[in-house]
C-alpha cells in the first residue's frame, strides 16, 4: 500500500513496460489504467488495473492475471468493506471478484469502474486517455519553514505596528544589558568607591536606576499594546479567512468525518497562533538579542570569567530539553483526562433525563469519580516531576553563580577585577540563564503554533468542490422547469445513492417524492439545489445545467422547508427575512400571515421583535415550522422544496401548516417529500423512489392502478394505520 509522503508536486506514474510485454499488448491499445494496492483480498501490494481496447486486465507483477472481455461484461461495480473493497464484474448475471483495493485507492477504483462502464456501453466510442496522472494528495504537508513563513506573512500587513514592536524589542534588550552594568560596575566602582566618578552620589544613582526601570516598564507596556493589536488583527484575519473559506465549501466538506474535529479546533488553533505571535516570537527575539549582546560584552570585558559563566549553560539546556518530553507527555495526559472529565460532565448533564429515568445516577457518579481520580493522579505525577527538575535547575544556577563568585573573587583580591565588575557579572549570569530556559520553552510554543497553522491552512487551502462556472448565467426569475437526465450520484466512492435517474418536472407542477428512508429522495433535492454536484448525468433548470447557473440566481429562486427547522439567533423578523434582508415590514407580515404564523407571533410580548431562544421564549415545533414557511414565502421562489416539512408535527398542527403550505405552493414548481401520503394529496404527480431509482411515476390514480405497485401497497398500509387512529378518536 503505497501512500507516499505527500509532496506538492503532481507525480506522473508510468505503466511498467514489463507488464505490457507479459500481456503481449501494445501501449497504444491501453485506454486507461490505474495502479492498485492490493494483490488479494487479504494482502497489500502493487498491482495494476488495465483497460485495454478488447477488455480489462487485473495484473500483479510476478503474479496472477485476470482478463475479461468487454462483450461479456454485464456490469462492473464495487463493494466496499471495512478497510478494503472489491471490484466485481458480472458475466451472465453472476458477479465474480475481479480485483481488491484498499480505501486509499477507492477513488481510483471508482474512476476505473466508471471508465469501463462507459466503454462497455459504447465500445466504439473509445475515449483515449493518456498515462494516468497520479492525483494530488489532498493532505497538504508543507515544510515547516514554508509554514512558518506563511504564518509570518500575515504580519507585514501591519508595517507601522511591526516596526514599532521591533524597535521596542531592540531597545528593551539594550536596557536589559545596561541594568547589571549599572547595579554592578557603576554602583560599586564609581558610586560607592572613593575616587569614583560619581562617588557618594547615591540618590542621583537611585533616581537614574528608577528611571531605567521605568523605561523597561514603558517598553513593556508599549510592546504589549502594539503587539496585542497586531496579533489580535492577525487572528481576526485568520479566523475570518477560515470562516469565509468554510462557507464557500460544498456540503460534502461539512458531512465528512473530519469536519467536527476541524471546526472545533478553529478557535483553539487560532489562539495557539496568537500566543506564539504575541508572546512567543517577540520574547524569543528579545532573549536571543540579550544572549548575543551579553555574551559579547562579557567576552570583551573578561574572557576567563565569561567561560565560568557559560559552563552551566549547556547543562541547563540539556536538562530542560530532556525533561521537556516527559513534561509534554504528562501535560498531554492531563489535558486529555481533563477533557475526558468535561465530556463526562457534559454527557451526564445533557442526558440527565435518561440518567434519571434509568436510575443510573450512582453508575454515573462512579464513572465520574474514576475519571476525576485519573486526572488527580496525573496532576500529582506532574507535580512530582516538576519538584525534581526545578530544584535541580536552581541548584545548577546557584552553583554557576558561586563559581563566578569564587573565580571572580580571587580576581578581585589579586586586583585583576573590580568588585563592581564582579557584581555586573553576577547580574549577567541571571540575564543568561533565564533566556536559555525560555528559549527551550519557545520551541514547544513553536511546535504548537505550527500544528495549528497546518490545520487551519488545511481548511483555507481546500479546493472548492462546488465551483461557480466561469461565465455563470444569471436568471432573475426562473420558470421552474426541472429535469434530471441520467443522473448517477454517490456521497462516498462506490456507493451510488442515485442510479441513472431521469425525471422531468414541469413549471408550476407539484411533484411528490415517496419511498422508504434512505431511498434517495432527499438526495434528489440536494442535487437540484446544487448542494452537491453530480459526476454523471445532468441536472437542468429551465433547460440550463445547474453548474452553469449563477449560484446567486439558484439560491434566490429555490427555497427549502425542511423537517429540522433551523432558526438563527436573532429576532423573528430577521429570521423570516433571512433570505431577503431588504424585505419591507409589510412584506414580512404578509408572509407570516400566509404562513399562518402571524397570529401567534403578534401574541408574543415582543411580537416580531421577539429574540429567539432568549427571555425564556421557546417556540413549539409547529411554530418554528411556520416561521420557516414564512421565510420561504417571503423569498417568493420559483421552485420550492418541502422535505418532510410536516412530519415532526401532530395531525392538528399539520392541518394548520398544510393550509400555509397550500398558500405557499401556488404558482410554483414544488417538490415535496413526505412519509404521510395524505400530505401529498395536492400533488399533480407522484414519483416512487426505491434504491436510488425512480420505479413508479404518475398521478395518484395511475399509480393505484398498478397491480402490486409499491405506491399502492404504501397507501394501503397507511389507510390500515389510519383505521386505528379513527378508532382512537
Amino acid at each position: 500500500m503505497k501512500r507516499k509522503k505527500s509532496k506538492n508536486e503532481i507525480k506522473k506514474e508510468v505503466l511498467p513496460s514489463e507488464l505490457l510485454l507479459r500481456l503481449g499488448i501494445e501501449k497504444e491499445d491501453v485506454l486507461f489504467w490505474v495502479k492498485n494496492d492490493m494483490t488479494s483480498s487479504s494482502f497489500l501490494g502493487e498491482s495494476y488495473l488495465i483497460a485495454h481496447k478488447k477488455g480489462v486486465y487485473s495484473i500483479i507483477p510476478d503474479g496472477d492475471v485476470i482478463f475479461k472481455e468487454y462483450s461479456l461484461i454485464d456490469d462492473i461495480f464495487a463493494e466496499t468493506y471495512v478497510s478494503s473493497g472489491s471490484i466485481m464484474i458480472s458475466e451472465n448475471k453472476e458477479a465474480a471478484p475481479f480485483a481488491s483495493f484498499s480505501l486509499a485507492t477507492a477513488k481510483k477504483a471508482e474512476e476505473f469502474i466508471s471508465f469501463v462502464r462507459k466503454t462497455v456501453k459504447n465500445t466504439e466510442e473509445m475515449q483515449k486517455r493518456p498515462d494516468y496522472v497520479g492525483e494530488k494528495d489532498e493532505f497538504i504537508n508543507k515544510g515547516r519553514k514554508k509554514l512558518f513563513l506563511r504564518v509570518l506573512s500575515y504580519v507585514p500587513r501591519y508595517k507601522a505596528e511591526l516596526f514599532t514592536v521591533i524597535a521596542i524589542i531592540i531597545l528593551s534588550s539594550l536596557v536589559n544589558v545596561v541594568k547589571p552594568y549599572l547595579t554592578g560596575r557603576i554602583l560599586y566602582d564609581e558610586v560607592l568607591t572613593e575616587g569614583g566618578m560619581f562617588y557618594g552620589k547615591i540618590f542621583p544613582f537611585v533616581l537614574v536606576f528608577i528611571g531605567v526601570n521605568a523605561l523597561t516598564v514603558v517598553f513593556g507596556i508599549v510592546q504589549g499594546r502594539v503587539g496585542a493589536g497586531i496579533s489580535g488583527k492577525i487572528i481576526y484575519d485568520i479566523k475570518t479567512e477560515v470562516f469565509e473559506s468554510m462557507q464557500k465549501l460544498g456540503m460534502s466538506f461539512f458531512t465528512s468525518k473530519r469536519t467536527g474535529n476541524l471546526l472545533n479546533r478553529i478557535n483553539s488553533d487560532a489562539l495557539d497562533i496568537q500566543y506564539f505571535l504575541n508572546d512567543g516570537l517577540p520574547n524569543f527575539i528579545i532573549n536571543f538579542l540579550t544572549i548575543a549582546i551579553v555574551g559579547l560584552v562579557l567576552f570583551i570585558t573578561n574572557p576567563l570569567l565569561s567561560i565560568a559563566v557559560l559552563i552551566p549553560v549547556p547543562l541547563i539546556a540539556f536538562i530542560i530539553k530532556s525533561s521537556a518530553r516527559k513534561f509534554k507527555k504528562l501535560k498531554w495526559h492531563t489535558w486529555r483526562r481533563s477533557s475526558n472529565m468535561n465530556s463526562a460532565i457534559n454527557d451526564t448533564l445533557l442526558g440527565i433525563r435518561v440518567v434519571k429515568a434509568f436510575g443510573r445516577e450512582e453508575h454515573e457518579t462512579r464513572k465520574f469519580k474514576e475519571i476525576s481520580n485519573a486526572l488527580y493522579e496525573n496532576r500529582v505525577r506532574e507535580g512530582i516531576a516538576s519538584a525534581k527538575v526545578f530544584p535541580l535547575l536552581s541548584w545548577i544556577m546557584t552553583a554557576g553563580g558561586l563559581m563566578v563568585w569564587g573565580l571572580g573573587g580571587s580576581q578581585v583580591i589579586s586586583d585583576k577585577l573590580t568588585f563592581g565588575e564582579l557584581m555586573s557579572f553576577v547580574g549577567y549570569l541571571e540575564l543568561l540563564y533565564n533566556p536559555v530556559n525560555f528559549m527551550v520553552k519557545t520551541f514547544d510554543w513553536w511546535t504548537n503554533c505550527m500544528n495549528s497553522a497546518q490545520r487551519i491552512f488545511e481548511v483555507t487551502d481546500r479546493e472548492r468542490d462546488i465551483k461557480e462556472s466561469e461565465n455563470p448565467i444569471e436568471i432573475k426569475k426562473m420558470r421552474g422547469e426541472i429535469e434530471l437526465k441520467n443522473v448517477t450520484f454517490s456521497y462516498e466512492p462506490n456507493r451510488n445513492v442515485l442510479k441513472n435517474v431521469s425525471l422531468k418536472i414541469h413549471s408550476g407542477e407539484m411533484l411528490g417524492l415517496v419511498g422508504h428512508s434512505g431511498a434517495g429522495k432527499s438526495t434528489i433535492t440536494n442535487i437540484i439545489t446544487r448542494l452537491y454536484d453530480v459526476p454523471d448525468g445532468e441536472v437542468l433548470i429551465d433547460g440550463i445545467n445547474v453548474k452553469k447557473i449563477k449560484s446567486e440566481s439558484l439560491h434566490s429562486n429555490i427555497a427549502m422547508v425542511l423537517q429540522e427547522t433551523f432558526l438563527f439567533s436573532g429576532t423573528i423578523k430577521e429570521n423570516i427575512a433571512y433570505g431577503r434582508p431588504d424585505a419591507k415590514f409589510e412584506e414580512i407580515i404578509d408572509a407570516a400571515k400566509k404562513a399562518n404564523a402571524h397570529g401567534f407571533i403578534t401574541a408574543l410580548p415582543d411580537g416580531y421583535d421577539t429574540q429567539i431562544g432568549k427571555n425564556g421564549i421557546d417556540l413549539s415545533g409547529g411554530e418554528k415550522q411556520r416561521i420557516s414557511i414564512a421565510r420561504a414565502i417571503l423569498m417568493d421562489p420559483a421552485i420550492l422544496i418541502l422535505d418532510e416539512a410536516t412530519s415532526s408535527l401532530d395531525t392538528q398542527t399539520e392541518k394548520q401548516i398544510q393550509q400555509a403550505i397550500e398558500e405557499l405552493i401556488k404558482g410554483r414548481t414544488t417538490i415535496a417529500i413526505a412519509h404521510r401520503l395524505s400530505t401529498l394529496r395536492n400533488a399533480n404527480r407522484l414519483a416512487v423512489v426505491e434504491d436510488g431509482k425512480i420505479v413508479e411515476c404518475g398521478t395518484h390514480k395511475e399509480l393505484m392502478d398498478i397491480e402490486n405497485g409499491i405506491y399502492k401497497s404504501m397507501v394501503e398500509k397507511q389507510i390500515h394505520a389510519l383505521d386505528y387512529t379513527e378508532v382512537e378518536k
Binding site: S41, V82, S100, L103, G518
Partner: protein
C-alpha cells in the same frame, strides 16, 4: 417485532459458488450469494453473524436471512467458507513491526510490516484516529479510512511505543 431467526446446520448450509463467493441454502430455498456481517466486530469474530441476501446494503429492505449464533456449530468446510468471507469483508492488517514513525505536525507517517505485507500510511491527528481498544490493543485509522490494528502494544518496538504513548 420479528423474532430472531437462528441458522443452524440442521436447517441449512453454506456452500461456495464457482466464482468463489459464499452462498446459502436452506430446506426451503436457495438464496444464492449472501453476505455475512459481524454484529459485534470488536468482541466476537465468529459469533453473532448476520447472514443477508446479496443486496444487503439496502437499508429499506429487511434482507436478513438469519443469525449465526456460533459459527463453531457448523462443519469445518462451512466454517472455512464463512471465515474466508468474513476475512475479506473485515480485512484489517495487523501491524507486526513498526519500522519508523515520522511525525510531522498533526500527521504521522508510519512505515510498518503487517500480516498483509509492508505498508506505509499517514495518520492525521492521532488524538482522534488512534483508538485504544483495551488490553493493549490499538486501532489506527489512516487518512483514507483504512484501519490498522496493533494487537499488543507491549510487543512492538519501544521507539514506536514512545511516540504513541501519549495518545493512549
Amino acid at each position: 417485532m420479528n423474532e430472531l431467526n437462528y441458522l443452524s446446520p440442521e436447517n441449512g448450509e453454506f456452500y461456495e459458488l464457482e466464482t468463489g463467493l459464499i452462498a446459502y441454502r436452506d430446506n426451503k430455498k436457495d438464496y444464492g450469494r449472501v453476505a455475512v456481517l459481524r454484529m459485534f466486530p470488536l468482541e466476537y469474530k465468529d459469533e453473532f453473524l448476520s447472514v443477508r441476501t446479496e443486496n444487503y446494503e439496502r437499508r429499506d429492505k429487511n434482507n436478513e436471512i438469519g443469525i449465526i449464533r456460533k459459527l463453531s456449530a457448523f462443519n469445518a468446510l462451512q466454517q472455512e467458507i464463512v471465515l474466508r468471507e468474513l476475512e475479506k469483508r473485515y480485512f484489517v492488517p495487523e501491524i507486526t513491526k513498526v519500522e519508523s514513525i515520522e511525525e510531522e505536525f498533526a500527521n504521522s507517517i508510519w512505515k510498518v510490516e503487517t500480516t498483509a505485507g509492508k505498508a506505509e500510511f499517514t495518520v492525521n491527528d492521532m488524538g482522534s484516529n488512534l483508538l485504544n481498544l483495551g488490553n493493549n490493543k490499538i486501532m489506527l485509522t489512516d487518512v483514507f479510512g483504512n484501519r490498522y490494528i496493533i494487537p499488543d502494544i507491549t510487543k512492538i518496538n519501544d521507539k514506536a511505543v514512545k511516540v504513541i504513548e501519549i495518545w493512549i
